[in-house]
């Protein structure tokens, strides 16, 4: 343990002399304050905060990932190249302690930098509202939508119901001998698509309700919750806008026939463009005590002629503060860096610096678009799909994901909570399973390697 620490310290001493380390450091020290000053987003305080947090976290994450890869791939390689390893190996230190020492050095340095730059981003973010001298209402909006941690709840999907309805329709078609001349699989697929779109669509003069469970906004009179959604309109409305009448609250109260409602049901009208993300605020007391909230949308035929198809529909409510959430976001980033350090060290036990770096970068970039590739592979044709399924797919499953819910930036930009549960799960898979596996492989290889062997 103590001699691992000596190795780690030496690895850091070596890393800080690498040009890339200086470049990353200087670049970030210059860019972060500049970004806080220059990035204005859509001009509002919220937009400014969102664009700064998004770009700064992405930049720090990206550059530190590159630095981690460079440092971890370089350290052992350089020891082999200048043969310093020959001397270290003869000392009373086990091979695994050398590998672990290198790993701790590479990871430690980058975590230290991450901590430093995170503090800087946090400080700058906190300073932006004061520096920008924004009006009161914008500050209030930033408070509820940015300096918060909101839980995102999707409506209860009724996939079973969709499947049930599809089966019913197939049954009816069969009875009427109207089944098209296609394979059963294709028919089912087409009908499912249709049914799913039908589930999301609201025709003119029709209304739709979405039920949300487990909505528990804080019990204070100022608490708010948010309805966030995105839709398309078909056909395109002439002014590109859809007029909608909304109701939010516990709709079960309509059916009781009581005059006095226990929780209020709010109504509002909005006219909004298609294909953009919108959200509106509703007082927190709209949620029932058992956590149920229903959102209703009425496609008013007086103003619209289009069918409205909702691609996204969510309810958000605050569950925690910005600071803790920011901390968790940084931890998620740390998980990524630790993994990359293990990857680089493990690869450099048997690959040269350029090859190990290349491979690490491949894993890193694949991780950044992992979810996207996986999705597109699923959509591939049968033959091609088979090929991919047995090659790249395994690779993609084996490496961690850095995109989608594993991307730290989105949480801050939209003020969404990154739950401890999710963070723990990500850390468990990435660190305990993937990282340990990598280190064990690296140590195994390194322990068997003939250190002074020269390959020319």
């Amino acid at each position: 343990m103590r001699n691992s620490w000596a190795i780690a310290k030496n690895t850091i001493a070596q890393a800080v002399r690498m040009k890339i380390a200086a470049a990353v450091l200087v670049l970030l020290l210059i860019l972060l304050p500049t970004m806080a000053w220059m990035l204005t987003g859509d001009g509002t305080l919220l937009g400014r905060l969102q664009s700064f947090s998004s770009y700064s976290i992405s930049l720090v994450g990206f550059l530190l990932s590159l630095l981690t890869i460079a440092v971890s791939c370089y350290s052992l390689h350089s020891d082999f190249r200048v043969r310093t390893i020959d001397l270290v190996i003869t000392k009373p230190i086990a091979r695994h302690q050398i590998v672990l020492g290198k790993f701790w050095g590479a990871a430690g340095l980058n975590l230290f930098l991450l901590a430093g730059f995170s503090c800087m981003i946090y400080g700058l973010t906190a300073a932006i509202p004061r520096l920008s001298k924004a009006p009161e209402d914008q500050i209030a909006r930033a408070q509820t939508e940015f300096f918060t941690a909101r839980r995102v709840v999707a409506p209860q999907t009724s996939e079973e119901e969709i499947v049930k309805r599809v089966e019913e329709r197939i049954e009816t078609l069969r009875k009427n001998r109207q089944l098209p001349d296609l394979s059963m699989e294709q028919i089912r697929q087409t009908l499912l698509e249709q049914e799913r779109i039908a589930q999301k669509s609201v025709e003119p003069a029709a209304a739709k309700e979405w039920d949300f469970q487990t909505i528990f906004p804080p019990k204070d009179p100022n608490s708010v919750m948010f309805v966030r959604y995105k839709f398309q309109a078909a056909p395109e409305p002439p002014n590109q806008e859809i007029f909608g009448q909304w109701r939010v609250g516990d709709f079960r109260q309509f059916r009781t026939g009581l005059r006095e409602y226990k929780t209020p049901i709010y109504g509002l009208e909005r006219s909004e463009a298609a294909r953009t993300l919108h959200s509106f605020t509703v007082p927190g007391n709209a949620a029932a005590d058992d956590g149920l909230v229903t959102v209703g949308f009425f496609n008013s035929p007086e103003r619209n002629f289009s069918t409205v198809i909702f691609d996204q529909m969510e309810v958000l409510y605050p569950v925690g503060g910005f600071g803790v959430n920011f901390f968790r976001v940084v931890l998620l980033m740390a998980v990524r860096l630790i993994f990359l350090a293990a990857l680089g060290i493990s690869l450099s036990t048997w690959l040269s610096f350029p090859v190990a770096t290349l491979f690490s970068l491949m894993v890193f970039f694949a991780g950044l678009i992992n979810g996207f590739i996986l999705e597109s592979i699923e959509g591939l044709g049968a033959v091609l799909g088979m090929v991919y399924r047995f090659t790249i797919r395994w690779f993609l499953y084996a490496i961690p994901r850095f995109d989608g819910p594993y991307s730290p930036t989105d949480y801050l930009v939209s003020g969404e909570v990154l739950s401890w549960t999710f963070l723990g799960k990500a850390a468990l898979i990435t660190l305990v399973v993937q990282m340990v596996l990598l280190l064990v492989i690296g140590i195994w290889i390194f322990s068997r390697r003939e250190i002074a062997k020269i390959t020319v």
């Binding site: 000596a6 001493a13 310093t84 270290v88 190996i89 009373p92 230190i93 250190i451 002074a452």
Partner: protein
């Protein structure tokens, strides 16, 4: 220090290393069936021309290379065992040191790996830097060091753990003559303290000066092995050293020898270049600063002079300087002759700090060491006047009639003493 089952500090059994080429076919037979045996507390000179397999053998001893066949044991075990590795000091062929670390950081780094506590590290680093003559340069990056300075710090690194077994691969390559001399003195002193040393060198004079036994490798095989003196001694020749003589006296001596039916040759002794160089530098050192390694501080400072104990002072008065024979003369004596005034002040405590053991007085008036005879670790070598010493020591004699007071009694005696 022989804590293990094996009676050898280094033992190889049919050790073989064959380097394959890229296709895996055997290409270079670097070491073939080597059975090397180095006893505890011995300085073993491992010789051989370039490419004869010395370094390869050492690397196999240290598990840097895996033997194709055979086994290598050090200190009765494998060097992969941390408990054994902790007792080894290794100076590689080239300076495999981190160039971006300072000398002090380098020693600290290795000290940490050995798990030495901070205060021990600190005091040992100071001592070692002093010893290898880099005391003022401890905060300079190793990358900026000259080759010899790097060698010196490499040696310091090998000593940081106060090793029982020291493996030195060409320690004197690139070293100035004074450094070379210091290393030789150091090796003798370490051996006196019970360490075992495997010394690989091309400077035969150095090997001859310090080694008890040598082995000569060629083509990966051991060609000859044995005690240095035995291998080098001309048993059928005799050398006599005298003070100035008149031509008549010389003629008389020659005629006596001719009467005996033998041959004879008379020359005046000449200083070796090494001795000459050491003298010049010692003088210059007094008047001029240097940005390089400082000769004369460490090892020499400590080892050159006997401790300033009363008994020693007496002894100093009793010894007489021995003149230097000519080039044809025995090499051992020649290398070690030097005027007395070139000796710097005694610094006995340096090595003591390092090893944590007090240095025994070289010659004690009450007790003559017999088990491990020690010679005064003095440069120059002083020949002790046997008659006075015998009185002092109470006339204790060795089997050959001479007083056992040196590590190698034969080096003190004229050749062919019999």
């Amino acid at each position: 220090m022989d804590s293990s089952g094996s009676s050898y500090a280094i033992e190889t059994i049919n050790l073989t290393k064959i380097f394959p080429d890229w296709w895996g076919r055997p290409k270079v037979k670097a070491v073939v069936d080597l059975n090397l045996k180095v006893r505890y507390n011995e300085i073993y000179g491992f010789l051989g021309p370039n490419g004869s397999g010395k370094t390869t053998t050492i690397k196999m001893l240290l598990n840097l290379l895996h033997p194709t066949k055979g086994h290598a044991f050090v200190l009765g075990g494998r060097s992969t065992d941390p408990a054994i590795a902790a007792r080894i000091g290794y100076l590689p062929e080239e300076s495999y040191l981190y160039r971006y670390l300072t000398a002090r950081e380098t020693l600290d780094f290795y000290g940490r790996i050995f798990g030495l506590p901070a205060p021990v590290r600190k005091s040992r680093i100071d001592t070692l830097l002093e010893m290898v003559g880099l005391a003022g340069l401890g905060s300079r990056r190793i990358g900026t060091y000259s080759k010899g300075m790097m060698r010196r710090i490499g040696l310091a690194q090998a000593l940081i753990n106060d090793p029982d077994l020291l493996i030195l691969d060409e320690p004197t390559s690139g070293m100035d003559p004074i450094g070379t001399r210091q290393i030789k003195d150091l090796l003798l002193e370490l051996a006196r303290r019970g360490k075992t040393i495997l010394l690989c060198s091309h400077l035969l004079a150095d090997v001859e000066d310090v080694c008890d036994r040598i082995g000569i490798m060629y083509g990966g095989r051991m060609q000859v092995e044995g005690p240095v003196r035995e291998l080098l001694q001309h048993r059928d020749e005799l050398q006599i050293l005298t003070g100035p003589l008149t031509p008549e006296a010389r003629e008389e001596i020659k005629s006596v020898i001719r009467r005996e039916g033998s041959w004879c040759k008379m020359t005046t002794p000449v200083d070796k270049l090494e001795t000459f160089f050491v003298n010049i530098i010692t003088k210059a050192q007094a008047s001029q600063p240097t940005s390089g390694a400082k000769p004369g501080t460490g090892i020499q400072g400590f080892l050159a002079a006997p401790p300033a104990s009363p008994s020693k002072a007496v002894l100093e008065q009793l010894v007489a300087k021995k003149p230097q024979p000519a080039a044809e003369a025995g090499p051992a004596e020649a290398a070690e002759t030097e005027p007395t005034q070139s000796r710097p002040a005694p610094k006995k405590d340096l090595l003591e700090q390092l090893t944590g053991k007090p240095a025994e007085p070289t010659v004690s008036p009450t007790e003559a060491p017999t088990e491990k005879p020690s010679e005064p670790p003095a440069v120059p070598k002083l020949s002790v006047r046997q008659d006075v010493l015998q009185k002092l020591l109470g006339g204790r004699k060795g089997p050959d009639g001479s007083t056992e007071q040196t590590r190698r009694p034969e080096s003190e005696e004229p050749r062919n003493a019999e």
